[in-house]
């Protein structure tokens, strides 16, 4: 993969209940802030990629955003890939620049599920137009957490664990989020608080589920120029399994590992080279399964590895130093952008007391649906 593209700018604002006059105002602010961070401006932009927010439907959202910004980038597309979308947009934007077709790309994944509709309506809509088979699952009225709960129940039984395994993920992410100024959920959580949180769908409790958050962010990629620290997309990879859990080959093992292997192969690195990996954890069970499917921990051991501190900023392999989706936030269709932005922040050395020492290589992972598909990117820091 070409080394001539720089991930030059980022923008992220506090996630959670933040109020904006409109989703478009939020998008405009993120675009301008990311371009500013990159030392660029709207006149340079020839690629504008967005994910269509749940909060703001248009025929083509990216074109509506371009209209708002009064620009007409040649490549103005909106993407649909579930929680993989920040990484799929990153890959597509990178490739256009690397191919010499474009020079400055802005990708935006942002959503305001708490602002445009009530939270309960959002949850209801999600179960209707979400990762649930409309004919053979939806008539039984499962909520989305219920589908993940089915995986959790089967996983815990297969690995001989109980809900305390799930709790380790919730505790880790909350501890990390406490150090992140933009995180949605930062209040300290202990085992007692976890066990007291109400049951959603057994065995998942409220604190096993990512919150509904306003949030997201923007990333700018440019053709290389000047000296200083560069952040490179070294490689990315995807894996596609099934859309609905009914069609899955297993209820406990999926394909996060295939996407990581594909990304590492493209990047020319191995697991030993990774200083950080941010894993898509819309639910605690998603972290445990994805992490083990990636081979980071042996089967059934991820929870004990969390408990042993293996995955903190000073641990063997840092994971979700921003708090993941569980605590940094889950901004609807933009879920997963936090994973990508934190990887960039860490590589820049700007993570403050979350900083992973000598962070040179960082991976970010996204997932669609209930383990339906995965996308992973490997980023690296280079001194130009």
């Amino acid at each position: 993969m070409s080394g001539k593209v720089n991930i030059a700018g980022i923008a992220e604002l506090p996630q959670g209940k933040s109020q904006w006059p409109s989703p478009m105002a939020f998008h405009e602010t993120l675009v301008k802030a990311a371009l500013d961070d990159a030392g660029s401006d709207l006149t340079e932009v020839d690629v504008l990629f967005t994910v269509e927010p749940r909060a703001d439907p248009y025929l083509v959202h990216a074109i509506a955003l371009a209209e708002r910004l009064r620009i007409q980038p040649e490549f103005t597309w909106s993407f649909t890939s579930g929680g993989c979308v920040p990484i799929t947009m990153l890959q597509a934007a990178h490739d256009l620049i690397a191919a010499g077709r474009a020079r400055t790309a802005v990708i935006v994944a942002a959503d305001l599920p708490l602002t445009s509709v009530s939270r309960s309506k959002y949850v209801e809509n999600l179960a209707q137009v979400g990762p649930i088979h409309p004919e053979f699952e939806a008539p039984y009225h499962p909520p989305v957490p219920g589908m993940f709960a089915l995986v959790a129940q089967a996983y815990l039984a297969a690995t001989g664990q109980d809900e305390r395994a799930l709790m380790q993920v919730a505790l880790h992410d909350r501890e990390m989020a406490a150090r992140h100024p933009n995180a949605h959920m930062r209040a300290p959580m202990d085992a007692e608080a976890y066990s007291a949180s109400r049951l959603i769908a057994t065995p998942l409790r409220l604190l096993d589920c990512a919150p509904v958050s306003n949030g997201g962010g923007a990333v700018v990629l440019t053709r290389d120029g000047g000296s200083g620290v560069k952040v490179r997309l070294k490689g990315s990879g995807s894996a596609t399994s099934q859309m609905h859990l009914t069609a899955a080959r297993s209820l406990t093992q999926f394909d996060a590992g295939l996407s990581l292997q594909s990304a590492m192969k493209a990047a020319g690195v191995t697991m030993a080279d990774l200083d950080l990996i941010n894993i898509y954890d819309c639910f605690t069970i998603a972290m445990l399964v994805n992490l083990e499917d990636m081979g980071v921990s042996p089967r059934g051991q991820a929870a004990s590895d969390f408990a042993a501190g293996r995955f903190g900023p000073a641990g063997e392999l840092a994971i979700n130093t921003h708090g993941g989706l569980l605590s940094h936030g889950h901004p609807a269709r933009a879920g997963g952008m936090g994973n990508l932005i934190e990887a960039i922040v860490q590589l820049r050395g700007l993570a403050g007391d979350r900083q992973v020492a000598d962070c040179e290589v960082a991976a970010a992972h996204g997932m669609a649906g209930v383990f339906a598909s995965h996308a992973t990117c490997v980023l690296a820091r280079e001194e130009a």
Binding site: P139, H141, P143, G146, L245, A247, L251
Partner: protein, 133 residues
């Protein structure tokens, strides 16, 4: 016949819903591949009746339904049942006390609506009498 199937059903899946209405579980079978195909995929399969018995592969009792309407019904149990024929079916478990739910328990199909609705669905109840509430 369109009154006996959900609005999301198609002409392609009509035989499944006709079966439900008649109290039978009809599943798609690919004769060339000698395999069941679920969810229905490519064309070229035939619908065959299955036994309606199987085992619980996983289950979850929902305490927070997706919408206020369903919240009124109280907790309910969703599940994946692996039919004896090897097909995984999404469903509800009925007539089983929560403490008696178990992965691997033997269950049998019934055809009835859920949540006070009109459309019958395939739901599953325990085969062992001791598991009844």
């Amino acid at each position: 016949m369109s009154e006996t199937r959900p609005s999301v059903a198609t002409d392609e899946t009509q035989p499944f819903w006709d079966g439900i209405a008649a109290g039978r579980l009809m599943m798609p079978f690919d004769e060339a591949a000698n395999a069941w195909v679920w969810p229905p995929a490519h064309d070229g399969f035939v619908w065959k009746q299955v036994s309606g018995t199987g085992r619980v592969e996983s289950y979850s009792t929902v305490h927070r339904a997706p919408s206020a309407n369903h919240a009124r019904q109280g907790p309910y149990t969703i599940a994946f049942v692996t039919l004896d024929e090897g097909i995984r079916l999404f469903t509800r478990i009925v007539d089983c006390a929560e403490q008696n739910l178990a992965i691997g328990m033997r269950v049998c199909a019934r055809f009835e609506p859920v949540d006070g609705e009109q459309q019958p669905l395939a739901v599953f109840a325990p085969l062992e009498p001791g598991a009844l509430a």
